[in-house]
Amino acid sequence: MNGARTLATAARVLRQLSHDPRSIALMIVAPSLLVGLFAWLFSDQTGVFDQFGGAILALFPFIVMFLITSITTLRERRSGTLERLMTTPIAKADFIVGYALAFGLMAIVQAVITVTFAVWVCGLDVEGPLWQLGLVAVVDALLGTALGLLASAFARTEFQAVQFMPVLVFPQIILGGLFMPRDQMPDVLYAISDWLPLSYAIDTINAVTAGDEGWDVWRPLLIVVAFAVGALVLASLTLRRRTP
C-alpha cells in the first residue's frame, strides 16, 4: 500500500462526485427526508418515533452508501479504467481504501446532517451523547460502502448491482431488530441475525438512544467495524489484475 496513491484515488473519486451535484444533493438530503417522513407518520403517536427513529438513522446511510458504492465501482470495472489502473503501480488496497476514504468522508457529512435533522427538527429523543449517534451513522455508512465494493465484484451490470439490494440488504433490515426485537424472533432467525452486521448496527443505535454506556455501545459497534474491514479485505481479494 502507498499513502500517496490511496489519497490520490480518494481525491479523484471526490472530484468525480463534485461534477455530479445532483448525486451529492440526493446523498445528503435523502436520508433526512426519509427520517422526516417517518417522524411525520408517527407524529400523533407519542414514543413511536423515539423507539424506531434511531434505527432508521442506522439504515439509510447504510442503504444509500451501498447503492452508490456498488454502482460507482462497477462503472469503473466496465469502463476500462480499472483495467488501465491495474497496469499502473497502484496496489489493490490503494484502490479499495481510496474509495472507502472518499465515501467515508461523504458519510460523515451525511451523518452530521441526518443526525442534526433527526434531533433538532424531528425531535428525536436521545439519552446518550449525540456524537455517538453520529459515529454509529458513519460506521454504518462505511459498512454500506464496504459491502457495496464487495457486491460490485459479483455484478456484471448495473442492473445486477441494484438487484443485490433485496438479496444482501433487505434480509438484514427484516432480521435486524427493527420490526421485532431480535430476542423475540424464532430461534433459527435469531441465530441468523447474530451473523448479520446490520443487527449490531441497530443494537448500537438502540444502546445510544437508551443512554447505555461503555461496552453495551462499543461491543456491537466494534463488531460492525470488524464486518466492514472484513468486507473491504474480501473486496480487495476479488480485484484481479488479470481477467479472462
Binding site: A8, R12, R15, S79, G80, R84, T87, P89, R241, R242
Partner: protein, 259 residues
Amino acid sequence: MNKSSDAAVEVRGLRVRRGSTEVFAGLDLDIPRGQVTGLLGPSGCGKTTLIRSIVGVQKVAGGSVTVLGAPAGSRELRDRVAYDTQSASVYSDLTILQNLRYFARLIGAPRSDIDRVIEQVGLGAQKNQTVDSLSGGQESRVSLAVAMLGAPELIVLDEPTVGLDPVLRAELWEMFRALADAGATLLVSSHVMDEALRCDRLVLLRAGRIIADTSPERLLSETGTTDPDAAFLALIERDVASADPPPRSRREAREEDGS
C-alpha cells in the same frame, strides 16, 4: 534495464482461452527494442488479446510473455510499461487536466509532464473541459495522453488512431516516431493498413496466428504490390489457401450428410 536480451517483448508458446474459444494455441513473437512495431489484422484476429497479455491483464492458459526482461504484468514493470486500451479508458466525468493529474500521481510522473502530453495530443484549449463533453476522437486522445505520461520504456497502444482525421493521424504517427527515436519501444495495433508503412516492423495476425512478421518494404516487394491494402489482401488470401479448410458448420454438415 535488462541488457541480456535484444527483444523488448518475448512471447513463447502463448496459449489463451476466452470463453470456449481458443484465441492462441502456442504463439511465438519477438518485439525489438527502440522501434515502432505495428500489429495488424482483421478485427477479431486476437490483436487486443495479445496486447492484454503483454501488459499483463489477460488471464493466460500457458506459455510465457517476457517484457523488458521480466514476466509480463510484474510489479517492476508497472511504471515502465504504458498501456492505452482500445476504447478510451479515462474518467468521463473529470476534466482532461484532472484525469492526467490522477494518472501522473499514480505512476509518479512529474507535474511538468501533464502540460507536455496535453500539447502532444493537441488538446491545450480543452484541458479544463470534462471528457464527456469532448468528441470521440478527442476522448481517445486524452486516453492516449495518459499513456505518454512519465518515461515509459514500452508503450502499448490498442488502435490509438481509430476515428481520427488524417491530419491528426499523421501528427500522432510523427509523435510515435519521435518517442521511438528517443529510445522507447512502441507496439501499436491498427486495422488501418496505410498506417503500416509508418512502422519499422509489421506483425500481421489472422485467426490467432502470425501470418507475417516483416518490414513495410519487404511486405510490398514480397507481395508484388504497391499499396499496403493490396499487400495484406494478398497475404490473407495466401494464408486462406494454405490453411486447412474451415470446419463445417452444423448446418452444412446436416445438409451434406442428409443428402
